[in-house]
Amino acid sequence: MNRAPSAGLVLRVDPVACEGVGLCAQVGDRVVDLDRWGYPVLEPLGSPADVRAARRAVRACPRRALWVEEVDPGL
């Protein structure tokens, strides 16, 4: 991935796998909020810093429920 890192990247969650542990929100400031039940609400990745935060959140998840996905800008 040597183009601008935020282009076409999104942070996604598998809500079935997610158990609301909440570590993602601790390490993924700005890109992960928790709703009032403790489940993640994901924000768009607008900058390289956001992408780094998203990757930290992905690594932190003990349920492996998060991933960063490249989306086709044509869609």
């Binding site: 996604r12 598998d14 809500p15 079935v16 997610c18 158990e19 609301g20 709703d35 009032r36 039940w37 403790g38 489940y39 609400v41 991933w67 996905e69």
Partner: protein, 412 residues
């Protein structure tokens, strides 16, 4: 609605798919006065032999603008193109697990025209090169199962098409959800899933509603897109009718014996949308016309709410029902839907904050593995706008007088 009125006149001239049926208010589509299932011989006499399925059918699907009749109304041609472009063993599923508590059009179709649905399934399986053809039913839909077993047994074997498997799903609101069916057809539990990544060559499942398949079977025989709609109308019991798509909601209800205008109708089912009667009375029972108004016919359910009932109270019960029918997999659905039901219930007795109700609804939208929570959030939003007067009165601390429910109590 009197039961004799259902025979109807006038607005329902052409009946391509089914004969009108009257049913009890809930449960499987068991009619009070059954129409016998069409046997193999009369099916052949009515429609002629089944043409072979080829990818060229996509063009006819495109022209007809046929959309998925299970409720989502995704263009069938688009689904076929995507499937034809993919690789990997394909399972084609005819989805007869009609889960909206009011809906009965699919069950009625399977009981009356099992061969037309099987035709559509085999045609699509041939055209798309499917290795498996499955008919998926609710576990308690014994009438549809019986009709299909008889139809499959009397039908001569067709060399080119895969044999048809009859699978029983669980008895649950989410038993008809496409990703749950895909997982169940592959031997897993019938629970909604999230697809993380397309892996080329992996087994695929294409799910079509049974009415969609019956319409594909008609299209393949050059019966033009029929211009009719199958709808289930709730009244004193249920009625499944086939109407011209030009029929207005006023004509539909008048024909079924409604003498008073309702205050609103719930369109699509319990996971559908409320619309005030003044908004839809003049509209036709047609997906395209409703889409222009920001509405949808969904799975073809029309549930009118009498002028005396409280829409907020009724919606609170519907949301409680939807919450009870969560697959209990995703946090936003497990916790969010009961919260919506609670806030609506509080609103009905005159003590809630509409702003927080709508905020909660917005925060849940789109965050489940399937669209179950989205059905509930849109229902809530449509209730708040449709019953704005009730909302204003209840928010000002005036609970509704009767608290009576228009519809039969739901088993939660």
């Amino acid at each position: 609605m009197s039961e004799t009125a259902v025979a109807g006149t006038g607005v329902r001239a052409a009946r391509l798919l089914l004969t009108d049926a009257v049913l009890p208010a809930h449960g499987p589509a068991e009619p009070t006065d059954p129409t016998p299932a069409e046997g193999w011989r009369s099916h052949l006499a009515a429609f002629g032999p089944r043409p072979g399925g080829t990818p060229a059918l996509v063009a006819a699907l495109e022209r007809s603008r046929l959309t998925g009749q299970g409720g989502a109304h995704v263009p069938v041609a688009a689904k076929w193109r995507r499937t034809l472009a993919g690789h990997g063993p394909l399972t084609l599923v005819a989805n007869g697990a009609e889960s909206e508590p009011v809906a009965a059009k699919d069950g009625t179709l399977l009981r009356q025209r099992p061969h037309l649905v099987i035709d559509g399934l085999l045609l699509a399986a041939e055209a798309l090169g499917a290795q498996r053809a499955v008919i998926w039913l609710h576990g308690d839909d014994l009438g549809a199962r019986r009709a299909l077993r008889i139809a499959l047994a009397e039908r001569p074997w067709e060399g080119t098409a895969p044999s048809v498997e009859l699978l029983d799903g669980p008895v649950h609101y989410l038993a008809g959800e496409a990703s749950a069916i895909a997982q169940a057809a592959a031997g897993g539990p019938a629970l909604p899933t999230v697809r993380r990544r397309e892996v080329p060559g992996r087994p695929r499942t294409l799910v079509h509603n049974v009415e969609t398949l019956a319409r594909i079977a008609l299209l393949a025989r050059d019966v033009e897109e029929t211009g009719t709609r199958l709808v289930t109308v709730l009244g004193n019991g249920r009625a499944v009718v086939e109407v011209e798509s030009a029929t207005t909601f006023t004509e539909l209800l008048a024909d079924l014996g409604w003498t008073e205008a309702p205050q609103a109708v719930l369109l699509g089912g319990y996971g559908g949308l409320w619309a005030s009667w003044s908004r839809v009375a003049h509209l036709s029972v047609d997906e395209a016309a409703l889409r222009r108004e920001g509405l949808s016919l969904g799975a073809g359910v029309v549930a009118p709410l009498g002028a005396w009932a409280c829409g907020i109270h009724q919606t609170a019960r519907l949301v409680d029902y939807l919450a009870s029918m969560s697959a209990r997999q995703c946090g936003p659905c497990v916790f969010g839907l009961p919260a919506l039901g609670e806030r609506l219930g509080a609103l009905a007795v005159g003590s809630a904050d509409v702003g927080r109700l709508l905020d909660d609804a917005a925060s849940i939208e789109g965050r489940g593995a399937c669209h179950h929570p989205d059905g509930a959030t849109r229902l809530v939003a449509s209730a708040v706008s449709t019953f704005a007067d009730d909302v204003a009165a209840h928010s000002a601390g005036r609970p509704c007088g009767s608290g009576a429910l228009a519809w039969p109590e739901l088993a939660l």
